[in-house]
């Protein structure tokens, strides 16, 4: 059964997805504008329950790839996401039944809706991360050891690339990242096509709804003048970790990723302590006074203390008043295979995963 995604859900989806982006995934503002314009043109998005997919349906997995900072300058255009899907259909020689996003965190939460609106194809209420992560092998499909190819990549010029085979998810990541970097660190991609069966078995389900409802909770808390950070915690069953003021941000760009850390000086109950949030595009590990206290795959979110809005690794600034919270990760990510793919060691930290939940 298909359900129309109403225009008034765009803002809540963007707000919730930005929080689930855990610092990465890019601010959904530009995607929000694009989706609003498509709605203004009369286009609409139909949301599809993943369980309604037939086993042999083909699902396009779309994503905008690249550095969010680049996306703030090279504004994305939904035409390229649609083109990436078409390129893949041409290559496969068969049509996609529906479209889904690779990640529900950040602006990519809206990528499936943009492509869906452009191509008049339903959007599956699911993603492959339940949050945002920087690399292709960090998806639920990779954890499920599903095929990682082919992949299509479209840039704003006339460049279209199909990676027909890759030796592993890591190789797919390395190859596609190189191509992406080569065309300016931003591109639209259609990842390895999935069957309905695969999406039902390995997708992270109902995350479009989850992000929309989380965003709505925050927006409603603001309107009621309640604490929006508390609204996030209540809605997701999260944990408050730290409250304070940003006193330093260190950024390094290596291998196409933004790495670094931000230092928060505690206020209120946390006065006298410091928290360092280390990131690779997304927040990865939280150290309190030098000791790791929370880490991926638990979702670490840096929120503006007043508005409850997410703060991205690229927009964090000195002086911001922030609250760090942890939200529970999808179950699949905390499985053994999940930890291997997206636990702290996958990000180069010699730490055993320990959930705060």
């Amino acid at each position: 059964m298909l359900q129309e995604f109403p225009e008034e859900n765009i803002e809540p989806l963007a707000t919730g997805a930005w929080i689930l982006g855990t610092g990465g995934g890019g601010n959904p503002y530009i995607s929000t504008l694009n989706l609003r314009r498509l709605y203004a043109e009369g286009r609409r998005v139909q949301i599809m329950d993943p369980m309604d997919l037939a086993d042999d349906d083909m699902v396009a997995v779309v994503s905008k790839m690249g550095a969010p900072l680049v996306g703030q300058e090279r504004l994305s255009d939904p035409i390229h996401l649609a083109r990436a899907v078409e390129v893949m259909e041409d290559y496969l020689g068969k049509p996609f039944r529906a479209i889904m996003s690779v990640e529900i965190g950040g602006s990519n939460a809206l990528s499936s809706l943009l492509a869906g609106a452009m191509l008049d194809r339903p959007v599956v209420n699911a993603d492959a991360m339940g949050r945002a992560y920087p690399e292709a092998q960090m998806t639920s499909f990779a954890i499920g050891n599903l095929p990682m190819f082919p992949l299509s990549l479209v840039d704003i010029r006339d460049n279209e690339v199909i990676v027909t085979r890759a030796a592993s998810w890591k190789w797919m990541e390395r190859i596609s990242r190189k191509v992406c970097t080569e065309v300016g660190s931003t591109a639209a991609t259609c990842k390895a096509p999935r069957t309905g069966r695969e999406v039902k078995d390995w997708g992270i389900h109902y995350t479009v709804t989850k992000a929309t409802e989380l965003g709505r909770a925050v927006i409603e808390a603001r309107a009621r003048h309640d604490d929006p950070v508390k609204a996030v915690l209540d809605h997701e069953g999260g944990k408050h970790l730290f409250r304070g003021k940003i006193i330093d941000v260190v950024r390094e760009t290596t291998g196409g990723f933004l790495r670094g850390k931000t230092v928060i000086e505690g206020i209120e109950a946390d006065r006298g302590s410091r928290m360092e949030l280390a990131f690779q595009n997304e927040w990865a590990v939280a150290f309190r006074d030098g000791y790791p206290v929370a880490m991926t795959p638990d979702l670490l979110c840096l929120l503006d203390t007043v508005s409850g809005s997410a703060i991205g690794t690229e927009s964090v600034r000195y002086g911001q008043r922030t609250t760090v919270v942890a939200l529970p990760a999808p179950e699949l990510l905390t499985s053994l295979a999940g930890i291997a793919a997206v636990g702290p060691r996958a990000f180069g930290y010699n730490i055993d995963f320990k959930s705060v939940f």
Binding site: A67, L69, Q72, R74, L75, S76, D77, R157, R251
Partner: protein
């Protein structure tokens, strides 16, 4: 050292003369349509206190909310043209795609999107096509538009496209006043472009405003250096400020808040500054306005530059009330309050008329509002109270009751009790808090450049030292320098770990 601080609001012009921390004189006069005669009247009053045998005035600092008001009221704005150099990227979101309809209508833009721009690493996105720029320039010329904003992808890192496009435009339109986005904003094309477009729309107003101030000073025989206050609480030489009116956004409220801190001795409080046209609510932390984190909306337009965290409301002493519907604002009679408000003999119903009818303040002729239905007056005041209470609540950062300092000429509109406020404070000289804040403003120095082949620490240290030198060159005393802002962005795939570093320092003006 003697300084004159002047704040020209939409309704009143305030002036103070200070010597160090001592207020020697202050005055509030109505802002006149020509700006100048009000400024002259204020200047004549305070300069009368300088004293013939005493030292002359060392500096004059002028703060003005003219530019913000123009955007908020969608008035006095110039028709603009936008040239964005970014194709083939960004075509689904043209310039001004996120502007409110009424503001868009007020600036009635001509919009061009052309090929070019750069990548994050400084390489061209696609080649810029000079003929496309020339063609756009000819259409802009034919439309009679002279105020143009030019933006290009990654122009904060590579200014080349914007600079060469400006040359082409100028060759077609010699009298063009061109705003280049990289001179005003940061990374974030839409937001930077928005700032540049607002700036373009304010070019005429900037020029006429500064010229008027300059004439007024000359007529008052004041030869001291003349500055305009900027949104970060610092000042810029008037001629420089005239081409960058957006830097004066929110300078009035910034000045008021600093003035409120000075007058009350409170360094942590909420402040509401009620002018004739708008009010601003902000939060004082350590004597300075709390800064907005990131995105700031000006008149409904999303922008990205350092501003105090203020919530503006279209409510002031001259705000027009619709006598039929009771709707308050957003239009204001502004400087025409003394001729248009009912109590002053005019025919437009304003918030001041309602305040007089309710006995909140005495001014003008009360008999002229006695026909107002008491229930209409009561309903209007209740609506004002709701507007203030809502905004106050939005800006508060804690659940505890905090003091609210009411300053500005329209402070009488603020009720004695506001939910969430521990008390509503009114102080002597509150009416000229903004002029006082202006008089105390400081100068700044900024460095924004790319460093490579050095460590982050070294880059930051070098940039800070250069920013300090720039501030000293602009007139700051070296001993008073304080670093306000440090920002660095690494740039990938350039040899030597290149990073863009931006440092801003402030200091007191050094007088000899």
């Amino acid at each position: 050292m003697k300084r004159i601080g002047i704040d020209v609001g939409g309704t009143n012009t305030d002036a103070v003369l200070i010597d160090g921390d001592t207020i020697l004189s202050s005055i509030k006069v109505p802002t006149t349509q020509d700006v100048m005669s009000g400024v002259k009247a204020a200047l004549a009053h305070v300069s009368g206190y300088v004293g013939p045998i005493d030292r002359p005035v060392d500096a004059v600092m002028i703060g003005t909310t003219h530019f913000t008001n123009a955007v908020v009221e969608r008035a006095r704005l110039e028709r603009v043209a936008a040239i964005r150099i970014a194709l083939p990227s960004g075509s689904s979101l043209p310039p001004m795609c996120d502007w409110p309809e009424d503001l868009l209508a007020a600036v009635d833009p001509l919009i061009f999107m052309v090929h070019g721009g750069h990548e994050y690493d400084g390489s061209p996105l696609v080649p810029m096509i000079p003929d496309e720029i020339r063609e756009a320039a000819m259409k802009i010329r034919d439309a009679g538009i002279t105020s143009i904003a030019i933006s290009a992808t990654f122009s904060p890192l590579t200014t080349e496209c914007e600079v060469s496009a400006a040359e082409i435009v100028r060759s077609v339109i010699p009298n063009a006043r061109i705003t280049l986005s990289h001179t005003l904003g940061r990374i974030g094309l839409l937001e930077r472009e928005n700032v540049a477009l607002l700036n373009a729309a304010l070019q005429s107003l900037g020029k006429t405003t500064v010229q008027a101030f300059s004439d007024a000073l000359r007529e008052a025989s004041i030869a001291a250096p003349f500055f305009l206050t900027q949104n970060d609480g610092t000042v810029a030489l008037a001629d420089v400020a005239a081409s960058n009116p957006v830097h004066s956004f929110a300078s009035g409220p910034t000045n008021s808040m600093r003035g409120a801190a000075f007058l009350t001795g409170l360094s942590d409080a909420m402040v509401i500054d009620v002018g004739g046209t708008t009010s601003d609510i902000g939060c004082l932390v350590g004597g300075f306005p709390r800064e907005a984190n990131n995105i700031v909306h000006v008149g409904g337009v999303r922008t990205l530059f350092r501003m105090p965290d203020l919530l503006p409301i279209a409510l002031g002493g001259g705000t027009i009330i619709d006598p039929e519907t009771g709707k308050i604002g957003p239009r204001s009679v502004g400087y025409r309050i003394l001729s248009e408000a009912r109590v002053f003999g005019g025919s437009t119903l304003t918030t001041s008329d309602v305040a007089v009818a309710a006995g909140l303040i005495e001014m003008g002729d009360r008999d002229r509002v006695k026909d107002l239905n008491p229930s209409f007056v009561e309903a209007s005041l209740a609506r004002i109270r709701d507007m203030v209470a809502d905004s106050f609540d939005q800006m508060k950062t804690s659940a505890e009751d905090v003091p609210l300092v009411a300053v500005g000429g329209g402070a009488f509109l603020i009720p004695e009790q506001i939910a969430g406020a521990s008390e509503v404070l009114r102080v002597e000289n509150a009416g000229v808090a903004n002029a006082l804040g202006a008089a105390m403003a400081q100068v700044s120095g900024e460095v924004d450049q790319v460093f490579s082949g050095v460590s982050r620490d070294e880059a930051l240290t070098t940039a800070e030292a250069e920013a300090q030198n720039a501030a000293v060159a602009s007139g700051a005393g070296r001993d008073s320098l304080k670093t306000l802002e440090v920002e660095d962005i690494p740039i990938a795939y350039l040899p030597g770990g290149a990073r863009r570093v931006r440092v801003r320092v402030i200091g007191d003006i050094a007088f000899n």
